[in-house]
């Protein structure tokens, strides 16, 4: 999933200060799963905004709603239409893709992000998420025991580990696992250690962000 975190309240309050009718718009997709922008967080954020205005002796109307997937216009449009003319700004609690979808659907209104979108990750345990995929566009997990060195090695080594691997940890922190130690352990279990003997060729970074903004066109699906 895409993992996000709510922005600091001061930042959210500052950017919504000029608006008196705010639609706080959650997403039932990734940001619900990572507890950053689901209906519970929408309710909490709306409450905090109202309390802040009240403290300042001002009023505000907050509307609370959630879309199915905010990155899909089909999910966004019906919700926004149902609430049309009841808000002056949308405070989105989706990822950056969700925010930008709302912008496209509502070109005449201000749309603001309540979250910082952090990474593609998984929940390690309740309340702990880690990054596992950089969307590099050129997946090599089949050669690395299903553990991604592009994301999880601090130096993105394809021929690791470097000389800083100690006791299974990365040189940058004792709290960070050495991805290559994990890869070696896994390949050992799989009986595929010989994969480590080959020099892994240089990577084509152009398939990901380094190639500029990416786009996929499927001719077979285009209408």
């Amino acid at each position: 999933m895409i993992v996000a975190e709510r922005k600091p309240m001061e930042e959210i309050l500052a950017m919504t200060e000029e608006f008196d009718r705010i639609l706080v718009l959650g997403c039932k997709g990734c940001t619900t799963v990572c507890c950053a922008g689901g209906s519970r967080e929408v309710e909490e954020l709306a409450t905090l905004i109202r309390m802040n205005r009240k403290q300042k002796g001002k009023t505000v109307d907050t509307l609370e709603a959630s879309t199915e997937l905010q990155c899909e216009p089909e999910s966004v449009t019906p919700v926004l239409e149902r609430l049309a003319n009841q808000y002056d700004v949308v405070l989105s609690m989706a990822c950056g893709a969700g925010v930008q979808t709302v912008v496209k659907v509502l070109p005449d209104l201000r749309v603001l992000p309540a979250l910082n979108t952090n990474f593609i990750g998984v929940a390690e345990e309740h309340g702990v998420w880690t990054e596992v995929c950089l969307a590099c566009g050129n997946c090599i997990l089949g050669r690395t025991g299903g553990i991604c060195p592009v994301t999880r090695c601090s130096k993105q080594l394809l021929n690791g580990p470097c000389g800083g691997s100690m006791n299974g940890k990365c040189e940058i922190s004792k709290d960070v696992d050495c991805a290559w130690q994990l890869i070696i352990d896994r390949l050992k279990e799989l009986g595929e250690l010989e994969l480590l003997e080959e020099v892994f060729p240089v990577k084509d970074w152009s398939a990901g962000w380094h190639g500029g903004p990416q786009k996929i066109v499927r001719e077979d699906l285009k209408s």
Binding site: K155, Q156, C162, G163, G164, E171, I172, E197, V199, V202
Partner: protein
């Protein structure tokens, strides 16, 4: 000859090599480099110039190499993939070749988090092994990494680092084998304090025949004080400083003398290890001890080949 460098001639003639290290200043004074160069000139076959070591910005390695070259010291250009993508690496290789630099050491580099610009973006476009392979292709096939032709020669002796003390231990020799197959002509190891572990690693190196395919130079870091020994034991990742050594420094009446003694003992032990073709001394901020170490280790005068 691949490069025609002095270091290559010494190693190829089968003599025991001795190399040193010079860290450029956090500033622009040529003197800072020249002074270290003058100290190391007569006792080293070549001198490494570090490249933003520990991710702290300093005068560029290439400029440092030229300053050494001007005073007659043969430089080893250290280059890290942390700070340059494949375009910049190849451009600097061409420039260094044009300027007459003949040795290069291909490194990953310490993570930028450790240095004085911890918020920097690390590059890591290619890794150190791919870098070795790239320089070899440039040298032997006159080709860039994209397959295009290079005009002119790219005569480098290609070096790489090896750390017998990092984990997982059993993989360390596989990593060395990869560096050798990628094209490493010589290896400078991490500082050796734990000799038995190094000897064990060298046995694995010989079992794979790697000592015959590359020249291994054992790394040495002279210790000045017990504080330094403790710091390295506790804080420097990738180093293994045994407790006995820290105790020995703590008990010493004259810690600097003890540090020299430890160095000399280590060199004597390393000379006996089959496949070790030289010593690389990294006397950070203690360059003036290097001539004495070379002298007392019986490695002077340096061969003229």
């Amino acid at each position: 000859m691949k490069s025609g460098s002095n270091l290559e001639r010494v190693l190829e003639s089968g003599q025991f090599a001795f190399t040193g290290e010079c860290g450029p200043p956090k500033g622009t004074a040529p003197k800072a480099v020249q002074k270290k160069g003058e100290l190391l000139k007569s006792c080293c076959d070549a001198v490494n110039v570090t490249d933003n070591q520990t991710a702290i910005v300093r005068m560029s390695s290439l400029a440092g190499c030229m300053l050494l070259k001007e005073i007659g010291v043969e430089p080893v250009l250290q280059m890290v993939v942390r700070d340059r993508n494949r375009l910049a690496l190849q451009a600097d290789i061409l420039g260094a070749a044009a300027l007459g630099i003949r040795n290069v050491l291909c490194l990953s580099g310490d993570h930028q988090k450790f240095g004085n610009h911890p918020t920097a973006k690390g590059v890591y476009d290619i890794d150190s092994i791919q870098f070795i392979q790239m320089v070899k292709t440039m040298r032997d096939e006159h080709k860039f990494i994209n397959g295009e032709e290079i005009s002119g020669d790219v005569p480098f002796l290609i070096g790489a680092a090896a750390n017998p003390y990092a984990d997982p231990f059993e993989f360390r020799v596989i990593r060395l084998a990869k560096k050798v197959s990628a094209g490493a002509d010589f290896i400078q190891t991490q500082g050796i304090f734990d000799v038995p572990k190094f000897v064990e690693w060298m046995k694995m190196v010989r079992d794979r025949g790697l000592h015959e395919k590359t020249h291994i130079l054992g790394g040495l870091i002279p210790i000045k004080s017990v504080g330094m020994a403790r710091y390295m034991r506790n804080n420097v990742s990738g180093l293994s400083v045994p407790k006995e050594l820290v105790d020995r420094m703590a008990d010493a009446k004259d810690p600097k003398e003890e540090g020299v003694k430890i160095c000399l003992e280590t060199i004597e032990q390393l000379k006996e290890v089959e496949g070790v073709h030289g010593i690389h001394v990294m006397a950070v901020a203690w360059e003036d001890i290097v001539p004495r170490i070379a002298e007392e280790a019986g490695l002077m005068p340096r061969p003229v080949v």
